[in-house]
Amino acid sequence: MTTIKELANTENLFTSGHRACAGCGGTVILRLLMAVAGKDTVIVGATGCMEVVSTIYPYTAWNVPFLHNAFENSAATASGVESAYRALLKKNNIKKKINFIAFGGDGGTYDIGLQSLSGAMERGHNMLYVCYDNEAYMNTGIQRSSATPFGSNTTTSPAGSVIKGKMQNRKDLTEIMVAHNLQYVAQASPAHWSDFVNKVKKALAIDGPTFINVLSPCPLGWGYDPSLSIELARLAVDTHFWPIYEYENEKYTINIKPKQVKPLEDFLFTQARFKHLKNEPALVEELKRFIEKRWNMLLQKENFCK
């Protein structure tokens, strides 16, 4: 068990001075990730908020080697880095054990980079892929993605008088990764930092591809006060909106089962992106039904794999 004090005392490998917004969930995720991964790590980042805010030339927020290639190919790029490492190990040109971590937002992971991710995971490269899922294309100004939840108002699924935001439910990327027969797949939330840290540790200990999907609250895109990021990340878990679970050795474990499930409205109506749903109880019911269906399926999977 890592304490918060221990984490705070680790070398700062993702440093301050980056240009992320106040309250950005993504930077909290990266900070925690790097505290666990440590110095012997190579990062490959997809084009997106985290890359843009951390690498504006001639500055960098990274105290580890960092490579950015393009938007849709961070997994493929990392597979090349990892292959080079294996080739150089064989030749004895390198001896140290190195962690390879690729990351992308939901745009670079669920959508445009899905094929690249799927290929890299199927090929079995020794790497951890972390998706910071802020549920829309935030870097380009809040456009819908396949991770955007039903009903959400985005700039390409605007809530109008006829169409009330995004009319499709989100894609379940975490389960798509489970379907790749990976040894370790998890969902996490920055509110449950200890759980996330353990998941990163587990993933990095595995010799093979692993995947962690982390909910990444976005004050600008979701429309809330920046002080509420962690609170929202917690509410997402407590409302079943974002279950915290892992798939490990062919077994599902739901890490957090809220004793008292909070009303979904508590999560939705803290955010501007859902405010138009206040007058649309039927749509809220539809979203609730979907969330509960997914939660129940997850419970069944957990039970089935016992």
Binding site: V52, T60, A70, A76, V81, A87, L88
Partner: protein, 395 residues
């Protein structure tokens, strides 16, 4: 020491890759380059190379993985063709922009639509502005030699290189190949050179930064400058290759050009057909010559003008069309190379062989007759002709 064998273009390129023994090959099969990847896979599975082979799920991921591997200090190669090269397009610019040495064995094939798997140069030409060095090969021997040479060029200049052959015409045609001993290839290419290494965790660097208005232009200017300087260095490396490997290659090949009145300029396999014709015509006393640019990027404009300026007429053969209404790629390069030159020979563009349409000795002979008439005539239009094509009847 060398061995004489019979190999297709694809086999020759795969053999060159084997002898280079790269650290990483990331590739995706596509006709007519599929065999290169297949043959190389057998070298990997049979322990003939030390390479880590990354069989990606697309060409886009193949070139992306090449970038990752090259940035990690590995010697890297790939292979593709046509739609595959087009799918790589976005990432080609990143490979050159990050100054990564990568060698690609590329087999020229038409681009869709309509879909067609046969030879033309549309794919390579569509990548001409991607900041890669581009080298054309006439036959298996050139494909083999230039693949080995390309590794040296790429690692000396930190510019990625694509070496091309003509789909099926060369890629699948068996011909005589003189191969070097493995050790000679290894000695020639030498130790792998890398511009930087992201596996050096003690010296962490950030590669692929976001560069805005304040620095972007300086970085691109440096890249352009590197390509300008590359011209002299590529020439030197050809000379060095000839010396070490006992060959006689140039960046632009010329045949019978010393006293030629008419010249044919062609890339790749067609230059061989044209040379055969030229030898026959020379026996009859006709003063015709052939110019075969091997290196298309960077473009050796001054050199090509020097070779061509004293002829009466130039037939520029293009196996691709820019679809700009101004002809093919080679024609446009040569035309602009002649701008402000004192001597201005007549020049006509012949677009031929799209989608693998045959080009025969007779076709080239007709072209020569045409360029002679064109040079004599006062009419200088049209300067673009599509040959061996069934033209639509005018209604």
């Amino acid at each position: 020491m060398s061995n004489i064998v019979a190999k297709t273009g694809n086999e020759a390129m795969a053999e060159a890759m084997r002898q280079i023994n790269p650290d990483v090959v990331a590739a995706y099969p596509i006709s007519p380059a599929t065999e290169i990847v297949q043959i190389f896979s057998t070298f990997v599975s049979g322990g003939k190379v030390d390479t880590i082979f990354v069989p990606t799920e697309s060409e886009h991921s193949a070139i992306s993985a090449c970038i990752g591997a090259a940035a990690a200090g590995a010697r890297v190669m790939t292979s593709t063709s046509s739609q595959g090269l087009a799918l790589m397009h976005e990432i080609l610019f990143i490979a050159s922009g990050l100054r990564l040495p990568i060698v690609m064995c590329e087999v020229n094939r038409a681009l869709s639509a309509p879909i067609n798997i046969h030879c033309d140069h549309s794919d390579t030409m569509a990548s001409r502005d991607a900041g890669w060095i581009q080298i054309f090969s006439e036959d298996s021997q050139e494909a083999y030699d230039q693949t080995i040479l390309a590794m040296k060029i790429s690692e000396d200049l930190f510019i990625p290189v694509m070496v091309t052959t003509d789909g099926f015409i060369i890629s699948h045609a068996m011909s005589r190949l003189e191969m070097y001993e493995n050790i000679d290839v290894q000695n020639y290419i030498g130790e792998h050179k890398t511009p930087y290494n992201i596996l050096d965790i003690d010296k962490p660097i950030t590669v692929g930064s976001l560069v805005l208005q304040d620095y972007y232009m300086e970085i691109k200017r440096q890249q352009a400058d590197a390509m300008m300087k590359a011209k002299e260095k590529i020439k030197e490396l050809y000379v060095d290759f000839n010396k070490k490997m006992k060959k006689n290659y140039n960046v632009i090949e010329k045949y019978f050009m010393d006293d030629a009145e008419y010249a044919i300029v062609a890339l790749g396999s067609t230059a061989g057909t044209a040379r055969y014709l030229c030898e026959k015509l020379r026996e009859k006393g006709e003063r015709v010559g052939i110019v075969k640019p091997r290196v298309f990027r960077p473009f050796f404009a001054t050199e090509i003008v020097e070779i061509l300026e004293n002829v009466k007429g130039i037939a520029v053969l293009d196996r691709s069309d820019m679809m700009s209404s101004s002809g093919g790629h080679l024609f446009n390069e040569i035309k602009s190379a002649f701008y402000r030159n004192n001597r201005q020979p007549a020049m006509r563009n012949y677009i031929y062989g799209l989608g693998g349409r045959d080009i025969t000795v007779g076709d080239i002979e007709d072209m020569l007759k045409d360029i002679k008439n064109f040079a004599i005539s006062k009419e200088k239009t049209p300067d673009i002709k599509y040959i061996t094509v069934r033209e639509q009847e005018k209604k």
